[in-house]
């Protein structure tokens, strides 16, 4: 079973989180920060810090540590807020 991360196929075991599967293959960053564009990924691992955000199946601000990986899922790195379309 695989999901895609930025076009790369990532294998995962049933029940594994997106974040868990990514860390297992050495992918540590799923987003960049709003101001400095610095890399971020898992921090607390329990869904309270909101550092591990990624765009999952088109939805930004998904906590990858809480999202169970699914076959065919499309995960993308989130750039900043991932919601630049809203800025006025």
């Amino acid at each position: 079973m695989t999901f895609q991360f930025d076009g790369r196929d990532i294998e995962f075991r049933p029940g594994q989180s997106v974040q868990g599967a990514l860390v297992a293959v050495g992918v540590l960053s799923t987003r960049t920060t709003r101001i400095a564009g610095a890399p971020r990924g898992m921090f607390c691992g329990i869904g309270v810090c909101f550092d591990c955000l990624a765009v999952i199946d088109g939805q930004p601000d998904q906590r990858s540590c809480l999202t169970p990986a699914e076959d065919g899922m499309v995960v993308c790195r989130q750039e900043g807020t991932g919601r630049d379309d809203l800025g006025v």
Binding site: R34, F50, L53, D61, T81, R83, D84, L86, G87, V88
Partner: protein, 382 residues
């Protein structure tokens, strides 16, 4: 507790009112000992939205105190600070949401203009130019250039830091148990870590003023009024101003004990959007209530539809100090000489903090008061 020097003034409470009082008293050259029972700024002062508004106050003494306090906020932001307190002159938008609202808002604006407050009437076109993300179909509103926003926790800590630099002692995790009074004159306070002496004591206990003063010569009628704030994920610049609906002001001035929820929304420098505002009088019950989160979220989505697709990351809650008669209690105690009060600011504690602190310092150092404070006097409860 190590008393390094005899204090001139003891301040009870390390929220923003205590911090502002410590700041102005220390700048006036007095030695201040501030005593906080928990962590500094851990109470109501860390649970708000950083509102510094003229728009939510009808003409009267509270509006006058606000004008004075807003000026002092601007001065404080320009002073020698270590951290950015995020003071923004973003202005406030008061929305007309119902059909009859525009006429009522027009009348309100007229009374404000007569009271020297700058206000601009907005038709729908002007409203959407100011706030493009608003839901369509709103008739207009009022724009108040004098409304500001601040990051209250950083600001309070900067006041405490400056007070310390001017010689103040800040003691945390120490609870004041009572006053020491002899023949109607205050001598100091009893705390969980011993007695502290001073000829002047300022009660800045906020939402806890009711229980604290209940056995004092003049108990103060201050009750907690719980409020929630919802926090979104960080977003780009989506809400430009403080935005709120006219129902907010009805709820603020109401003495209703049941749940009231009205719309207040603003962005922050960090990109989160804060959504309020609820009011309940349920004592100090802090148990979560999903209904409140749902109501505040629904109200906000109705006005800013983009929020339907935005993640809420958490909420927080706090207890506003509601004083009977809905005016803060600022001034000398009518029964105990040397005792002063600065409590009961309901939802405007952040806004009125510098003005309150400065007036308290003027009262204690026998300087002429910057404004007439008769309406705020504790003696009205005697």
């Amino acid at each position: 507790m190590d008393q390094l020097a005899v204090s001139d003034v003891i301040i009870i409470g390390g929220g923003i009112i205590g911090a502002a009082s410590a700041y102005h008293l220390s700048l006036a050259g007095l030695h201040v000992h501030l005593i906080e029972r928990g962590a500094p700024v851990s109470g109501t002062s860390s649970r708000g939205e950083g509102n510094i508004l003229v728009s939510d106050k009808p003409p009267g003494p509270e509006l006058e105190l606000q004008k004075f306090s807003s000026g002092l906020w601007a001065e404080f932001a320009e002073s020698d600070l270590e951290f950015d307190i995020e003071l923004e002159s973003k202005g406030g938008v008061l929305l007309g949401t119902a059909d009859g609202a525009m006429q009522a808002l027009d009348g309100y604006a007229t009374t404000h203009e007569a009271a020297g407050v700058q206000v601009e009437r907005m038709d729908a076109k002007a409203l959407y130019e100011r706030e493009p993300n608003l839901a369509p179909g709103l008739p207009g509103g009022l724009f108040y250039p004098g409304d500001l926003q601040v990051m209250p926790v950083i600001a309070a800590f900067e006041m405490l830091r400056a007070a310390r630099q001017h010689g103040a002692t800040i003691t945390a995790y120490t609870e004041v148990l009572g006053l020491e009074v002899s023949k109607g004159v205050v001598k100091g306070v009893k705390t969980t870590r011993g007695s502290v002496s001073a000829p002047v004591v300022v009660n800045c206990s906020g939402a806890w003023a009711g229980p604290l003063t209940s056995s004092w010569a003049t108990p103060l009628p201050v009750d907690p009024r719980r409020g929630y704030v919802l926090v979104t994920s960080a977003l780009p610049h989506v809400v430009r101003h403080k935005v709120y609906s006219a129902e907010y002001m009805d709820n603020v001035s109401s003495s209703d004990a049941g749940l009231q929820a009205s719309l207040v929304v603003e962005g922050t420098k960090s990109g989160t959007v804060l959504i309020g505002a609820s009011r309940e009088r349920i004592g100090f019950d802090d148990r979560p209530r999903a209904e409140i989160v749902q109501r505040l979220a629904s109200q906000a989505i109705a006005i800013y539809p983009f929020l339907a697709d935005v993640r809420l990351i958490r909420y927080y809650q706090g207890f506003r100090p509601y004083a009977d008669g809905h005016l803060p209690i600022i001034g000398p105690d009518p029964s105990v000489s040397g005792l002063f009060h600065a409590v009961g600011h309901e939802g405007v504690g952040i806004a009125l903090a510098p003005g309150t602190g400065r007036i308290i310092a003027e009262m204690i150092t026998n300087r002429p008061l910057s404004m007439d404070m008769q309406a705020f006097m504790p003696s009205r409860f005697n």
